[in-house]
């Protein structure tokens, strides 16, 4: 039987506010336990929540970025359950009237294939604290620093049909939230986490199969692997005559498998009801227009512009627009050098290679976009050749020299294009290599092409790489062929 996979994602994005969603405590990551847990975050008696305007603005910006409707009124509800990392015994969330209505995101699969994934809604809520399971005399330690960090939970429709689509969707969301600057998107620190709903159904069947929810998957790779495993598990189960049960599962990256999380857990009853400590949030059109006016160019628009206006390939446009930092670096370099294709090549080639080797992000690049742009400009205008350019890049990377011109000057890498000078070097090489010259002369004309490479190398060496290679090639051929 042919099976079809159906996937929906719930992505939790920690919003990059300075303070918490309902208190004035800092949201900074990695502080001493409970030093950033205020009375509100701890649920101390008498404490009350007050909503952070930035959390609202960020949620709305996301909504606008995914072309979602923003309802005039949204309401916070309480989700009631007991857990040690949930200090008040309820999570303040939005069940019935979320801040962001239905929207959609375009994902890119192959270079040319795109697909729209519908977003059901996105709502604001508070993050929980953390349980630390190291041994404290057989007890668990509770750190509530994270409690109250604003989260935007983005709930997709079950529109994805493969692990690859799910990963592409997650990347698209990541790209949007980082473009907007509403989250640092740091998955390792938990700034972005997702729950994956997976089911399978016979191809052609309309009704959905029973789904399993894989909780808290925290990397793009894990999403793909967790789904791959889960799909296989479900298909095998059904083909062996079994049935998928609706349950929550956990992905174990070490064993590369998902397993059931709650064996004896009874069905939850969260008793959602409107939070009486918070009033309805009312957003007017002027506010929405104001935020709309502040939206940056988003990844999809940038990708289109890179292709249509700068003439980049779909592939290049996709890679370069994936992160806002990368895109901005590329655009600045392009502005300086004026050659989009060259700039794209350099950013994706030499620069990305060097960054990856040293495990740096583009914002930490020792070579600035200005510097790279100028370097490329010198290649484009023929001041240096490609080989020298790589040397200049390395020098700039190592901090030797303020800019490309200074390095070119200091290292004498300026390309030699003076025919006389090149001819003089060629004459010298010919004179110094009589045996090779003789071989060349005696060879069949169709073999000569290969043999000329040796002489080009010698001339380039003699010029310390600065001779224009095309000129060297042409002049050498002329001279050697003229020898009798």
């Amino acid at each position: 039987m042919q099976w079809e996979t159906v996937i929906g994602l719930e992505v939790h994005v920690q919003l990059a506010t300075r303070s918490k969603i309902f208190s004035g405590a800092s949201t900074a990551f990695g502080s001493e336990p409970n030093t950033q847990a205020s009375a509100v975050d701890l649920g101390l008696p008498g404490s009350l929540p007050v909503l952070n305007e930035q959390a609202v603005a960020m949620a709305v910006q996301f909504g606008l970025a995914v072309h979602a409707g923003i309802p005039e009124v949204s309401v916070f509800d309480r989700k009631n359950y007991f857990y040690p990392d949930l200090p008040k015994g309820y999570q303040t969330s939005q069940m019935y009237h979320p801040i962001v209505g239905p929207g959609e995101v375009e994902i890119t699969l192959d270079d040319e294939v795109t697909k729209r994934i519908r977003i059901h809604h996105a709502h604001l809520e508070e993050d929980a604290g953390k349980s630390l399971h190291e041994d404290f005399q057989g007890m668990t330690g509770i750190d509530l620093n994270r409690a109250g960090t604003p989260l935007l939970e983005i709930v997709s429709e079950p529109d994805m049909r493969s692990a690859r689509e799910a990963a592409a969707y997650l990347k698209a969301i990541h790209s949007i939230v980082t473009y907007l600057g509403i989250s640092d998107g740091n998955m390792a620190e938990g700034s972005m986490r997702c729950d994956v709903n997976v089911s399978v159904r016979p191809k052609g069947q309309e009704a959905f199969g029973t789904r399993a929810e894989i909780k808290n998957v925290n990397s793009f790779r894990f999403v793909e692997r967790a789904i791959a495993f889960e799909v296989e598990r479900q298909i095998e189960l059904i083909e062996d005559g079994g049935e998928v049960v609706q349950e929550t599962r956990l992905f174990d990256p070490e064993r590369d498998e998902t397993r059931s999380m709650r064996t004896k857990e009874e069905a939850n009853d969260y008793r959602y009801f409107p939070c009486p400590d918070l009033l309805p949030v009312v957003l007017d059109q002027a506010y929405l227009d104001h935020l709309k006016g502040q939206l940056p160019e988003l990844p999809a628009d940038k990708r289109a512009r890179f292709q249509n206006e700068l003439g980049l390939s779909a592939y290049d446009a996709n890679v370069l627009s994936a992160s806002r930092e990368m895109a901005e670096f590329f655009e600045e370099a392009h502005q300086v050098c004026g050659d989009a294709k060259q700039a794209a090549n350099w950013v994706q080639g030499e620069l990305s290679g060097a960054l990856n080797r040293e495990n740096l992000g583009v914002v930490q690049s020792p070579v600035s976009a200005q510097q790279l742009g100028q370097l490329i400009k010198r290649v484009v205008d023929g001041t240096i050749n490609g080989k020298a350019a790589k040397e200049v890049f390395q020098a700039l990377w190592n901090g030797q020299g303020r800019d490309a011109d200074e390095v070119i000057e200091a290292k004498g890498l300026k390309q030699v294009t003076d025919t006389g000078a090149i001819e003089a070097m060629i004459d010298e090489v010919i004179a110094e290599n009589p045996a090779q010259v003789a071989q060349y002369r005696d060879a069949e004309p169709d073999k000569r092409g290969k043999m000329i490479g040796y002489f080009v190398g010698q001339v380039m060496k003699a010029s310390r790489g600065t001779a224009n290679p095309q000129q060297v090639n042409g002049l050498l051929k002329e001279k050697l062929d003229a020898l009798r």
Partner: protein, 486 residues
């Protein structure tokens, strides 16, 4: 001295006739000597009070013009007070010292009033007799075999007995007005949102409101001047400006339109209480007011709606008492569920458990729409009843409670206790302000006249109450206990 009103004491302080230290010491002595009979205080903070009194005297000498500087007050033990036990009448918080002051406490301190201590109350403000306190019941100063009402029973009894000139209470379904009525004092529940709830331990967040309990409307006006106003720490606190509530006190009442809701004079109302209330209304007529009957057709449904909404909010508000970060924790929990269930079983009393269970049940799957959503719809109808009535009349009047104070232990089943609040509870659902003022006695126990106004009409209510107190002396009557000298 202890039979004087806040207004009188403030004048004596201003003229230098009395010092805050003298006044404070006098009341502290009375508490020490007499509160054994009443049990109206959970904590008495004598040392802090005397220090505060000295500071207030110095401030006055240095030109502090706060009207209430140096006036001793008591706080219902529901208000967080930094470094002082804040128990909320519960074993759960018997060991809890709040790390901050409630906004009203801050405001009272800034005005240089002096807190004598924290008054007894029904546990988590759930009750109408003050018999639900972990610290034992409070007795009514007029008759020690009677309840003082609840949940602000300690504040009401302490003021009535002259242990303190005024106190703060809170009112979620009548918890200021009913004990004020039972103890023969004046109590005001302001409009929801008029006074900050920050630092006031929550029972039912959409209904809770703090207010003054004192010997006269004028005293209540002075206190409301201090505690009312916007607070950035409470999202539900109103932003509108605060008038001087003493300014309108003396406005004449000629032309005042009074409505008597017919539903407040029906079956269940004690005939003697009704007589006293109607006598009071006659006083108003003599002051130039006109009286007409009005109808609040959904009155009957206020208690049912309240006993869905309040327990629902309470069940959630009280989830934070889990033995992890503060408060009671059971001995040697064997696992997490044991920690939770035993801590909460030990820490909460019967009535609190009942309301948590009702609230949990009515919010749970399959019942939410039938109970909670239905109750909220009825809540809107109840509010609309009042808004409609205030189209025709300025204030509404009726009894604050169906009877005078009942005997301790008299109400055995929960529902008959709940029915005590039949005339007060709709007011909280609607969010409007209400007062109870002394209006006579039945068999030696006080009767309270309830006066209701539309949202933010506190100044008018205080005016209406004050004019009554200019024409009558019910509010000047004192129980024998208050006549005893310290």
């Amino acid at each position: 001295m202890h039979n004087q009103t806040v207004t009188q004491l403030a004048a004596a302080l201003k003229s230098g006739e009395l010092s805050s230290r003298e006044i404070t010491a006098h009341y502290l002595q009375r508490i020490e000597r007499l509160d054994g009979k009443l049990n109206s205080f959970i904590s008495v903070t004598a040392e802090q009070a005397l220090n505060g009194a000295e500071a207030a005297d110095k401030a006055r000498a240095a030109g502090d013009t706060h009207a209430l500087a140096g006036i001793p007050l008591a706080l219902k033990d529901i208000f967080c007070t930094k470094g002082v036990k804040t128990s909320c009448g519960s074993k759960m918080l018997d060991n809890f010292e709040a790390p901050y002051d409630a906004t009203v406490v801050e405001k009272l301190s800034a005005a240089h009033t002096v807190s004598l201590g924290k008054t007894n109350m029904d546990e988590f403000a759930m009750g109408s007799s003050n018999e639900n306190s972990h610290y034992g019941p409070v007795k009514n100063p007029w008759d020690l075999t009677a309840v003082p009402g609840g949940s602000s029973g300690g504040s009401a009894a302490a003021v009535a007995a002259g242990l303190v000139p005024a106190a703060l209470g809170t009112d979620t379904g009548g918890s200021i007005r009913q004990p004020a009525a039972f103890c023969g004092i004046t109590g005001l529940k302001p409009t929801y949102g008029r006074v900050s709830r920050f630092g006031m331990i929550a029972y039912a967040s959409s209904l809770d409101q703090a207010g003054p309990m004192a010997r006269s409307a004028s005293d209540c006006a002075h206190l409301l001047n201090v505690i009312a106003g916007h607070d950035v720490r409470d999202s539900t606190c109103a932003t509108r400006g605060v008038p001087d509530y003493t300014e309108q006190l003396n406005a004449p009442l000629s032309g005042l339109k009074i409505g008597l809701p017919k539903e407040y004079f029906g079956e269940g109302l004690n005939a003697d209480v009704e007589r006293a209330v109607r006598e009071a209304v006659k006083v108003y007529e003599s002051l130039g007011a006109t009286v007409r009957e009005v109808s609040l057709p959904h009155t009957h449904y206020a208690i049912p709606a309240y006993y869905v909404i309040a327990p629902a909010e309470a069940s959630s508000n009280l989830s934070r008492y889990d033995g992890v970060r503060f408060g009671h924790r059971c001995e040697d929990p064997k696992d997490l569920i044991d920690l939770y269930t035993r801590t909460r079983a030990e820490g909460f009393g019967e009535e609190v458990k009942r309301r948590i269970l009702i609230g949990t049940h009515t919010l749970s799957e399959g019942f939410f729409d039938a109970y909670y959503i239905k109750a909220q719809k009825v809540r809107r109808l109840i509010r609309q009843d009042f808004l409609d009535a205030f189209e025709d009349v300025d204030v509404l009047m009726g009894p604050a409670a169906p009877t005078t104070a009942f005997d301790l232990g008299a109400k055995k089943d929960p529902v008959s206790m709940y029915l005590q609040d039949i005339y007060t509870i709709a007011v909280n659902l609607a969010g409007i302000p209400g007062m109870s003022v002394p209006a006579g006695f039945v068999d030696g126990r006080p009767v309270g006249l309830q006066i209701l106004g539309t949202h933010f009409a506190e100044a008018q209510l205080l005016n209406v109450a004050h004019q009554f107190q200019q024409a009558t002396d019910w509010h000047l009557q004192r129980p024998a206990l208050a006549e005893e000298n310290a």
